[in-house]
Amino acid sequence: MTQLASYRLTTRTRTGTAAGLAALVLIAVGIVLPAFVSRSVIQDLFYILTMLTLAQLWNLLAGYGGLVSVGQQAFVGIGAYAMFAGVILAGWNPVFAILLGGVAALILAIPTAFFVFRLQGAYFAIGTWVIAEVTRLLVAQWKTLGGGTGTSLPREATGSILGVDAIRALFSVREAAARDILAYWLALVLVVAVTGGIYWLLRNRLGLALAAVRDNTEAAKSVGVDAGRLKWAVFLLASVATGLTGALIFLQTARISPDAAFALTDWTAYVVFIVVIGGIGTIEGPILGVIVFFILRSALADYGSWYLLSLGIIAIVVMLFAPRGLWGLISSRSGLHLFPVRRRLAGPKIEGGH
């Protein structure tokens, strides 16, 4: 009986530890990268990192929380507009105004959750979409921020972004390039925080509770998991982070319009495809998905609508023949889990067991 004490529940695996170390190295490389690569590479990486952040967040909602939202563009858009409002109306420094994007997303998320949580399954999806449309149409009425046509960040604001002068001096680049580097670093911070945060959540009690709710809401309730509060928590967290990401994306472009900020295609369709193709319900999936997505985008960039046509068809094919995505194929063949969240019993081998 004393031997039992040496068994413990763990999520730790050898590949998991190796992947963690590799991630740390990658982050370090990511930080110093602007010293070695061109501005266009930095811009591409910015795009990849922000899309990855959105994909991880949507995956948290749909893959782990069972909340299939097709209205995430609401939070991208409101976050971006709040950042613009902070800069243009209140004269904030754009970097601080990004935080305003998170606050605005939270303020929108509360009534949104109140509405859409009354809806089940598919109704929920449509409900989030309607809320996003309503938000877009309301923001288009906001004449001081350009109404339906949109507006740009004023020169004096973009010229005085916190830290840009230091980056200019450090890398001896033009102001516009320095702004891209700053946005890239912020995107790196965001993606690490979001991915790490989700990983941390899943390895802790929330991950277990989410899995329980996803598998069987009633049973989860009976063992004391409050499914309602859990969904609220996941939805609000994802909304705030999506708002921050939206603000950052439009800090980099420095120009905004309701159609761009609330674009279903850009902020939800692409994101859904990234998660589906990579593998829903895993942390590795969106990472693999964003890489595939970017390669496809680069390869098919010259073919206009063929690109989206093939993206749609690929998503359908993946859903039909590999519903757990590319990462699902890889991990089921190799048993590989870079971000292990499953609990395993660890300890000495049991003698004479089956």
């Binding site: 509405f115 598919a122 979409w129 149409l137 279903l264 495809f273 206009g304 063929w306 749609g312």
Partner: protein, 287 residues
């Protein structure tokens, strides 16, 4: 008088939205499938009708008559080859597949027909109107509304007075027991989607004759259709008409106050109904 006029225009507009929604309601009611590509399929059918008119020189109504069986077959194939594989307890796969389909159809149409706005020429019907004493109404909106009623009456007749309709309802209740009755649920689903695509063709006819359309207008139609279905309550076609009318009236009143508020007013009406009655106005007893 402006009030009455706005109300009548709104009700008639609701007929168009009910047409958008009827096919969705049918499929949703029978197999709980949410087809996010529904709006794009309407636009696709509108191009099909337009081809009949412009290439073959047919009247739009004859062109729609020809397009309907094509759409039936496409719906049947779509259900058999794709959607039947993803139906199940988990609602995520069908949502994602139809989302992919939506994007694929939009961009396929963009490639085939460009982003230019098109319209199905309706000849003398365009702009014709009838004076009803209190209000003057356009012939086209009136025809749309009458078609919506006709479609709902026909669908209800199929549903409640034919062996096929019995099989629809039985399969919707319990697929396993339906199988024990010799019914192949997947075939029933394929027929239902085919039928929904025939309704989609009717919707497409009026979508294309009443206003300009381009490959990108599908998702907005899907939203109106969905709002009508949800307001009406799952599986009730007359409820869907009521839902369409509520959206239509809200939109015309919104537009009467400020043209920019038309769409917004419709969405807000939807959210308000949802707040009061989350299961819609006429929910079915069994769900």
């Amino acid at each position: 008088m402006i009030l009455v006029d706005t109300l009548v225009q709104g009700i008639l507009l609701g007929g168009l939205y009910a047409l958008f929604a009827a096919g969705l309601s049918l499929v949703f009611g029978i197999m709980r499938l949410v087809n996010l590509a529904h709006g794009d399929l309407i636009v696709f059918a509108a191009y099909l009708v337009l081809l009949g008119v412009s290439l073959l020189g047919l009247s739009p109504f004859v062109a729609a008559l020809l397009a309907a069986p094509i759409m039936f077959v496409l719906g049947w194939l779509l259900q058999s080859a794709v959607l039947n594989r993803v139906l199940g307890k988990d609602i995520l796969p069908p949502l994602l597949v139809t989302f992919g389909l939506s994007i694929a159809i939009q961009n396929g149409l963009l490639e085939a027909f460009s982003a230019d706005s098109r319209r199905i020429p309706a000849g003398a019907l365009e702009g014709a109107s009838i004076n009803l004493g209190i209000v003057t109404v356009g012939v086209m909106p009136l025809l749309t509304f009458a078609s919506a009623i006709a479609v709902i009456v026909a669908l209800n007749a199929i549903f409640y007075q034919t062996a096929l309709g019995r099989a629809f309802r039985a399969t919707s209740d319990d697929t396993v027991t339906a199988g024990l009755m010799g019914i192949e649920p997947k075939r029933i689903f394929a027929i239902a989607t085919g039928l929904a695509m025939v309704v989609v063709t009717v919707a497409a006819l009026y979508l294309g004759m009443r206003a300009n359309f381009d490959p990108s207008v599908g998702p907005a139609r899907l939203l109106y259709a969905f709002e009508a279905v949800i307001i009406g309550g799952l599986g009730s076609l007359w409820g869907t008409l009521a839902g369409g009318i509520i959206i239509g009236v809200a939109q015309t009143f919104g537009a009467a106050i400020n043209p920019e508020w038309q769409i917004l007013a419709g969405h807000i009406a939807f959210l308000l109904v949802l707040l009061v009655k989350p299961r819609g106005l006429f929910p079915r007893a069994v769900d």
